[in-house]
């Protein structure tokens, strides 16, 4: 199929693949970064004296934004491993999102600093009264917890930068061997990422409720992460359209495929989410059911139903028709909604530990979210402005440009 529709008719130098200096988008980067930094300071100030609220708000925003970056990393790795052709034109934007991962190492520090506010097992194990936690001590202890956090960050950053640098080097040299080498490493990288992501989800989300456990939790976590990554990508693509960037390069065919992935992983998320609920409901063991009991009490009950309806039922039927996936405005609506639902998902996972009696959003939550999104967008825009918007010398670029769904 690569024989059809080559670069003919698509001029890659026509100012559609680069953001020129002085472009309004170029100014957006520092503004976003500044607003973000301000947001985080505000979050700290408004919670002054209540480090627990600050730490939880920070954790939610951290996990939400990080999952966008990790989802982008998954996309790049999987697309590379599969020798995908269609997505080459959107890959650079995902690469820019994943290249922001090293920044999260710094943003992790408050979580490490306020770990005792977040993770009750630290104090409970020190008190030595809890029999169950005593049994989990070989895994749940502070030195190992900190070591793991360092390992996650190092592994994610190393993978992200390795693939980012390879792709950028190919912009300069056009060397096909780079594609081959990246593909060879993509398989092991997916395994490393899947494992570290799962354990990070155990450490930073599951251990908020240290008696509770669910072996499928890692999968649940990265199902949401992939959705967040693609949703972000769709929103960025539609935003770039307004500036006539990537015109004729990214079209309905590419939106269609991204839409199919959003649809598929909406189902996948629900499949995993229900499997988790189903086995816990069926087994009916108190230390497992406690997780859902917390989430079916007070206004969390409403949040649980909203999550099931808004994260699955609604997008499932909305994303089903072909026309929805091919029209930028409608697919962006779906992507924006899914990103919102992903934020609800992360809140739903984390916040019942802080606010067991009901859903509530404070200024700190909003400020942290703005803070993280601002800083993330700041880094993302900086990388996006500094490089071509597509990997201009990727050997599969012509295939991606001429891609058509049959």
């Amino acid at each position: 199929m690569s024989a059809h529709g080559t670069t003919a008719g698509v001029d890659l130098d026509a100012g559609k693949v680069r953001i020129p200096a002085g472009h309004p988008l170029a100014r957006l980067g520092p503004i976003a970064f500044g607003v973000g930094a301000l947001g985080l300071v505000v979050a700290f100030l408004v919670t002054r004296g209540d480090t627990r609220v600050f730490a939880f708000s920070w954790l939610v925003a951290f996990l939400f934004t990080l999952s966008i970056a990790l989802g982008s990393l998954y996309f790049v790795l999987v697309h590379t491993a599969m020798q995908g052709g269609w997505g080459i034109v959107v890959r650079r934007l995902a690469e820019n999102a994943m290249a922001a991962i090293p920044a999260f190492a710094l943003l992790l520090l408050p979580i490490v600093l306020y770990r005792e506010e977040l993770f009750p097992w630290i104090r409970e194990i020190a008190e030595g009264k809890d029999h169950i936690l005593h049994g989990k001590e070989p895994y749940l202890n502070v030195p190992f917890f900190l070591t793991r956090a360092v390992v996650y960050m190092v592994v994610w950053s190393a993978i992200a930068l390795f693939f980012y640098r390879g792709s950028r080097r190919q912009d300069a040299t056009g060397d096909h061997a780079i594609s081959v080498r990246l593909r060879q490493w993509s398989g092991p990288a997916i395994i490393a990422l899947g494992l570290t992501h799962s354990f990070a989800a155990f450490d930073w989300i599951m251990s908020l409720d240290p008696h509770w456990y669910s072996t499928i939790f890692g999968v649940y976590s990265f199902a949401g992460s992939l959705l967040a990554g693609w949703s972000f990508l769709v929103l960025v693509l539609v935003a770039l359209r307004r500036f006539h960037l990537l015109d004729d390069i990214v079209g309905p065919e590419h939106y269609h495929d991204l839409g199919k992935l959003l649809f598929a992983f909406t189902v996948f998320w629900a499949y995993i989410g229900f499997s988790q609920y189903f086995l816990i409901w069926y087994g009916n063991i108190p230390e497992e059911t406690i997780f859902f009991r917390h989430r079916l009490e007070g206004s969390w009950r409403g949040a649980s139903f909203l999550l099931a309806a808004g994260h699955f039922v609604l997008p499932f039927f909305f994303l089903m028709p072909r026309a929805i996936k091919r029209r930028p405005a409608t697919i962006a609506l779906g992507a924006g909604w899914l990103l919102l639902m992903h934020y609800l998902d992360v809140t739903w996972l984390v916040m019942p530990s802080l606010r067991p009696h009901g859903v509530a959003f404070g200024i700190a939550d909003v400020a942290c979210l703005i803070g993280f999104l601002g800083i993330f967008l700041g880094v993302f825009v900086r990388l996006t402005v500094g490089a071509p918007l597509v990997p201009i010398r990727d050997p599969r670029l012509p295939e991606s440009l001429g891609f058509e769904n049959i």
Binding site: G5, F274, F278, Y282, N284, R322, E404
Partner: protein, 176 residues
Amino acid sequence: MAAWGLLAEYETPKALREACERMRDAGFSRWDAHTPFPVHGLDRAMGMRRSLLPWIILVLGLGGAATGFALQWWVHAKAYPLVISGKPYFSWPAYIPITFELGVLGGALGAVFGMLGLNQLPRHHHPVFESERFKRASDDRFFVSVEAADPRFDAAATRRLLQDGATAVESIEDEA
């Protein structure tokens, strides 16, 4: 032996597409294109409408899911109420796996048999198989076939329409 229709042979996908566009614009309805591999843009060139298949799959998929759920509800909550592991009679979470599976089954059956039905398959024979040339439809040639039964069909005019860019146009006889 009655004339079934015409079969035109083309060497390239481009020539085929152009012939299809001419057929489409002339308003033919009982005709088809035959290619050894999927040709991009052929749907458009032929003026094909979107297939009905997705709707068949949706209806059968939802129907399957509804059947699966209703069956379990009827069995567990109405016809044979038994307490199973201390759960209520109507324990909907337990019904979801079967509901899901029957939904998938309905959708899959709809996809396979809907596709076969809409393609009027299976059939054991087709008049174009009489053509020696047509064997290359699975190798390196592209064909357009038109039925004489088409209201727009005219042996001479349709032949002229197909001629442009074709390596051969032959008349197909119906055995039956």
